[in-house]
Amino acid sequence: MYAYGLEANPYPSSPTPTEKDAKILGGRRHKEAKSAILECIKELHGKVDCRDATAGDFRVITVIQDVGSGKTHLALHIKNLQGRHGIACSFVDLSTISPKTISSIYNAILKGFENEFFVQLRTKFLQDLQERAEQGDKAAKKAIDYTLVNKLAGITIKDKVDDIVLGKNQVSVENLNIYLNQRLNQFESTLIRNVITNSFSGISSLEELIGMMSSISKLTQRFLGKLVLFEMDELDGNIESTEFVKGIINAHIPASILMLISTPSGYIEVQNTNPSVFDRLEKANYKIDLVGSNSKEELSEIAIEYIKHNDKAGQFGLKEQEELSGKIQVLCDEFPEFRNVRSLINILYHTMEKSEELELEKIDEDAIYDAIRHSYPGLKVRESLSILERK
């Protein structure tokens, strides 16, 4: 058992957040940032509901703050909420793409969506085909390979489509192409074919990338009633990244939001290497500012939130929260090194592990001291830790 009667360590152990870690979001400033992003989504939803989206239905959000301040955590937290807010979200970490080509960026965008998104889209596309076939559309019937033989055998169009959805049967790719090309543009046809056949073809030009991203967002809005949020993390002055961002912003991909996450260093790199992109970012619709995200109060609130979220036993009351907040504030005063979300969470993870080992009811100075020694063996802590001990 961990401190405060917790069954598991509430703090994440990895240096970068995962989607699972990001289910919890603490800190007033981080919550305000979240509200601002959700407000943008709500505002755009209000504009595009009950009509097809146009070029004016595009938003840009920037999130610029120092390393380890919780930007990626915020982005992944929003991604976790996509089901509740009518969005399909793709998270892309630009630093993991090398070399940065149009093709690799597109693949990363596709991989950045949840699998469930493509499953839902596929089902909707096939249901649409089914409806048209049932209405007598011969091209639709051919696309799902529904023949006279099926009819005579008593197999309905619905049965046929159900089998395709379950993977027991295939569409006729040739006839599907004919059907799609008669009704949709090149990129929309390609996307639907790719989704239905579970096979995504590569792309090589910025024009194709913009075409495919527009198709994803338009068809997502039409078939699923959702907006698409493209989250691009670790933006910097890299030429391919900035040209890609410039292309996307200029294209005004309908029914979508482009959220760009960077550090001040990356942002000023963009300023120096691509002033026209920088100018566009300066005029973003929403500029999320995590100012004060590394303040003592914010760090205390974040630390407390993790425990509160997991406190099934109800042992982490107001008194315990205030005590922990006090210890964190002393820690931040004495160790400027830890005045950062990432560093503090790391310390608290190890502190919690120690609390389990020592069977502590609550976090105390010894546990914190051991955690610091364990995490930062080279740090001269002796003198300063005496302060914590006296506290």
Partner: protein
């Protein structure tokens, strides 16, 4: 409380005592008492490293003599003897304070110059690089690069809630062992 605090400060000797330690021992009211003692010139407060230290008057002079060669020279030139005559002692203290006040004045000027420069060169969200600010200020005010960063570091440490710094860049102030080359006024 004033007497107790003064006694604690005096007993800390030439190394002084951390302001944070005094606040922990004597509570929030300690700040007002320290300000009052400082105004009466019974104590001196100075930043050392990342923390503020407090000395009693005599201990501060001894500290300056040991650590500031300029101050030591001035004090030794001002009077050879270490007599406890009140006028000589007051004169020494006045000279030591003059040296300290010179830095304070510089710091006050520097803050307004720094803020103005930040405002002029920042992006819409307030960030700018230290090297840009440094080049401007050093050129106009004839400051060395080292002096600029000493003053900038001091300013940011004293006004932690007012400035944010971010890592990266070729030059800047060192925080957590990393060069923080970007700054903004929040």
């Amino acid at each position: 409380m004033g007497k107790d605090i003064l006694q604690t400060i005096d007993s800390a000797g030439i190394n002084g005592i951390k302001k944070a330690d005094l606040k922990k021992a004597y509570g929030k009211d300690c700040d007002n008492t320290l300000e009052s003692l400082k105004e009466k010139e019974q104590i001196f407060i100075e930043k050392r490293g990342v923390a503020y230290f407090v000395w009693s008057k005599e201990n501060y002079i001894d500290y300056l003599k040991c650590n500031d060669p300029k101050c030591k020279l001035v004090l030794e030139t001002a009077g050879p003897s270490q007599s406890t005559a009140k006028s000589k002692h007051t004169q020494n203290l006045r000279e030591a304070r003059t040296i300290s006040n010179y830095s304070t004045l510089e710091n006050n000027d520097f803050q307004s110059i720094f803020n103005k420069c930040l405002h002029e060169s920042a992006t819409s969200i307030g960030w700018t690089s230290f090297d840009k600010v440094r080049e401007k200020i050093c050129e106009i005010h004839n400051l060395s690069k080292e002096k600029f960063y000493m003053l900038a570091r001091d300013l940011i440490d004293k006004n932690g809630a007012r400035y944010e710094v971010s890592s990266g860049g070729q030059e800047g102030i060192i925080v957590r062992g990393l060069v923080h080359g970007y700054v903004r006024n929040v």
